[in-house]
Symmetry: C2
Subunit: 146 residues, 2 copies
């Protein structure tokens, strides 16, 4: 494996050892942003295998918590994420991927560029969601056939 | 509470109801980015109380998993995060905060602008971390007094 596993008591903040700190489920959180605009496009999770595959292949791999399987992002939709840079945070329990998305250049399973396509707006005492104006890039019904 | 709690079976993708999906620990993941540059500066977690406080006060509040308490970001360091926008993702188990940081304009407890201050570099068969050139904005030892 091209990285070390964190041991209890290690300090991850000020050294140059890549030592991802997987949680009790064996996962780190992956924030994914567009390498050109910095726009956050999705959030996913990686186990050691998917992190290693991401590093070695240069294409984003995640752990699908719903399907409980290794997930090569874009394998079905064609929207592969080419990794331009990987960063990690102070305590190394999260990574930040800067990516270029291929295909329809959409990363959300709804067909949109980003999973964060709604903002929270105040509506009296309640808060509602406002959709962005950007149209989806693909039709999920035609891409994800049953 | 200014939002509804998700019920099992609800679909969160295509409606305008803000219905955050808290996990089994009662948390959603919060990705935090600079509202001007889009740079991702940290990742944290929110329970319902911290999310509500964030919305109502316009300043980021999190749930500190290590201290197990409500955490008004910047209360000690002075680096308060003013919330410009809140977004949520397709399945509403994460939020994206776009913020302006006050004080020293640093969000990492190490004194740096961002917690993601190291990139992963290939070094033979191993991967090591390379520090950014940006110097810390404050000295944590003088800010976080024991």
């Amino acid at each position: 494996m091209p990285f070390e596993l964190a041991q209890r008591g290690d300090t991850q903040e000020e050294n140059n050892v890549f030592q991802p700190k997987f949680d009790e489920k064996g996962l780190v959180t992956a924030v994914v942003c567009d390498s050109e605009t910095n726009e956050v496009i999705m959030l996913a999770y990686m186990n050691a295998e998917s992190l290693e595959k991401t590093i070695i292949t240069g294409e984003a791999h995640y752990w699908s918590r719903s399907r409980k399987e290794l997930w090569h992002k874009g394998a079905t939709s064609g929207n592969v994420q080419k990794v331009v840079e990987i960063r990690t945070d102070c305590d190394q329990d999260a990574v930040l991927l800067k990516v270029q998305v291929t295909g329809a250049q959409a990363s959300c399973h709804t067909g949109r560029v980003s999973c964060f396509y709604r903002s929270v707006k105040k509506d009296g005492d309640k808060f509602t969601l406002k959709f962005d104006d950007r149209a989806p890039k693909f039709d999920p019904a035609s891409v994800y056939k049953k």
